[in-house]
């Protein structure tokens, strides 16, 4: 087949008419597509929601571009640029931001945690400082961790050298058994998300959508824990069920069950 023919037909065939995501009953309670994309990135969409989002991503170049940018913001290989330099120079802008943060701290939206940056620590007034400290002490290390490779301090757990700590396996098993997952952009958080998706995979009887989510998360966790998870090579969605079985066996062995 002529490549131009193939390209032209596939470009047209990828479209599927559907109303906007926000008008679908599956997305009741979502106010914006930003919320939908974020929930997708964190693996919190149901299979039906996931399916509709996938169609919307195939249809809309703009939405796909935003989706790719969101995933790239979470990549572990950082191309560090000059945010700090910019912040150091842009005193006025920083002041505005800081004022905003203080307002934010006084009246935080649901689940938004106060800033934990060195910059925030050096500036807030004592009163605000106290407000910042209290919730910070309550946060788990997983909650605070966010792309730890990018922190100014030397990373405590370089990804390439990570072996799987037993507490992480324990967390995995707890979530698999039904505990609430503590999702965060950290190896532990991603590993708990993997446990969640494994549970979901089995509940959904290995549906394609659940398998895809499971394989995506497995890929991420393999980057975090390359050595212990190396036997689990993500492949076709049809293999996801067997991989899930293998993973749960490994987890049981690790925690001595």
């Amino acid at each position: 087949m002529n490549p131009e023919t193939e390209k032209s037909l596939f470009r047209a065939l990828r479209y599927q008419d559907q109303p906007s995501l926000l008008s679908r009953p599956e997305f009741e309670g979502f106010a914006t597509t930003d919320e939908i994309l974020a929930a997708h990135a964190d693996g919190r969409l149901t299979s039906a929601q996931q399916e509709w989002l996938t169609v919307a991503l195939a249809n809309s170049n703009i939405l796909r571009q935003q989706w790719v940018a969101l995933l790239e913001s979470r990549e572990t290989v950082a191309a560090r640029q000059g945010v700090w330099r910019r912040f150091a120079m842009a005193g006025a802008a920083a002041s505005v931001l800081l004022a905003g943060v203080l307002v934010f701290v006084n009246d935080p939206p649901q689940e938004f945690s106060p800033p934990a940056s060195p910059m925030a620590e050096s500036h807030p007034a004592p009163q605000a400082r106290a407000q910042v400290d209290a919730p910070m002490r309550k946060q788990s290390s997983a909650d605070q961790s966010f792309a730890f490779e990018d922190r100014a301090e030397p990373p405590q757990r370089p990804a390439a050298a990570l072996a799987m700590p037993v507490p992480d396996w324990n967390g995995f098993m707890a979530v698999y058994a039904g505990d609430q997952a503590h999702l965060s952009d950290s190896p532990e958080g991603r590993f708990q998300a993997l446990a969640l998706s494994l549970r979901h995979l089995q509940q959904e009887d290995c549906s394609v959508a659940a398998a895809q989510t499971f394989l995506q998360r497995l890929t991420l966790s393999r980057q975090d824990y390359p050595a212990p998870l190396s036997p689990l090579e993500p492949g076709l969605t049809a293999d996801a069920c067997a991989l899930g079985e293998q993973l749960i066996q490994m987890a049981r062995q690790a925690v001595g069950q």
């Binding site: 930003d34 560090r80 961790s145 990018d150």
Partner: protein
């Protein structure tokens, strides 16, 4: 959270991926922060707890980054021939001609994300067909010479819609040629071609995952490796699935008596 260095590093990564010039990337990252803090953090206050807060903030920032690009560099409609080449070419045209990003740096930064040679070819062809591409003030003055109207301020929706229409027409033209291989100028009637397209849709029965894969590959021009990263699978799996879809299409056309025997380069449907 917003001033957490790790969160800011994430914003930087987004900006650096989108804008290869460091100064432009910094400007974009600052614009994202401005957008987040705008109106007393109004956008973040709309957070409904359906994801991690940071993930939501990144999603909002991603939209703000494209808003910044449209505000800063204008919204001329891409030339028709570019739209027919697909989103990858439109994206590179914006980066090269409107945003005046450096060709060499673009090739270096994006070469591996796209299929082999696409970035180099697109830059060469765009520069050849639009010689003043990337000149200072191109987005304000020179697009007028190309007859490009400004798109409405609708966050890019109209470009998407125009592209969908163009590609639908293009596919009908291809099917018209397959229906009448002897004389491509004699149409078999638009309804025939629409019927054939609908029959193809029915026979292929593409899943949502297939459709997304086709968009990432045939429309965005991304490499198998990049697609695999986005979908959380391996490049080999991506290649296998694309080969499977290619085979399905070929089979469907053959069964419908529309086997395409033209060689590469023989078809030119560009307007």
């Amino acid at each position: 959270m917003i001033l957490d260095p790790a969160f800011l590093a994430g914003l930087d990564r987004m900006a650096a991926k989108r804008f290869v010039q460091p100064a432009l990337a910094e400007e974009a990252a600052a614009a994202m922060l401005d957008a987040l803090s705008e109106a007393d953090w109004q956008r973040l206050r709309a957070f409904g707890g359906k994801s991690a807060p940071a993930t939501y903030a990144y999603a909002v920032a991603g939209r703000a980054m494209e808003d910044f690009a449209r505000r800063r560099f204008g919204r001329p409609r891409p030339p028709q021939w570019l739209q027919e080449k697909g989103q990858a070419w439109v994206r590179l045209w914006r980066m090269l001609c409107l945003e005046r990003q450096w060709p060499e740096t673009l090739m270096q930064a994006l070469g591996k994300e796209f299929v082999d040679g696409l970035v180099r070819e697109a830059i060469a062809v765009i520069k050849q067909r639009i010689p003043r591409c990337g000149e200072p003030g191109f987005s304000e003055c020179c697009v007028t010479e190309l007859g490009l109207e400004q798109l409405p301020d609708d966050a890019g929706d109209s470009v998407d819609q125009a592209l969908a229409r163009t590609q639908h027409q293009h596919a009908l033209a291809v099917l018209g040629r397959l229906l009448n291989p002897a004389d491509a100028t004699v149409g078999s009637g638009p309804s025939d071609e629409e019927d054939v397209l609908n029959e193809l849709i029915r026979r292929l029965a593409l899943t949502a995952d297939d459709r997304l894969l086709l968009s990432l590959s045939y429309e965005d021009g991304l490499s198998s490796r990049k697609i695999a990263t986005l979908l959380g699978t391996s490049a080999a799996t991506v290649q296998r699935r694309l080969a499977g879809l290619h085979h399905q299409l070929e089979q469907a056309l053959r069964v419908m008596g529309l086997a395409d025997t033209t060689a590469a380069g023989e078809v030119n449907l560009e307007s």
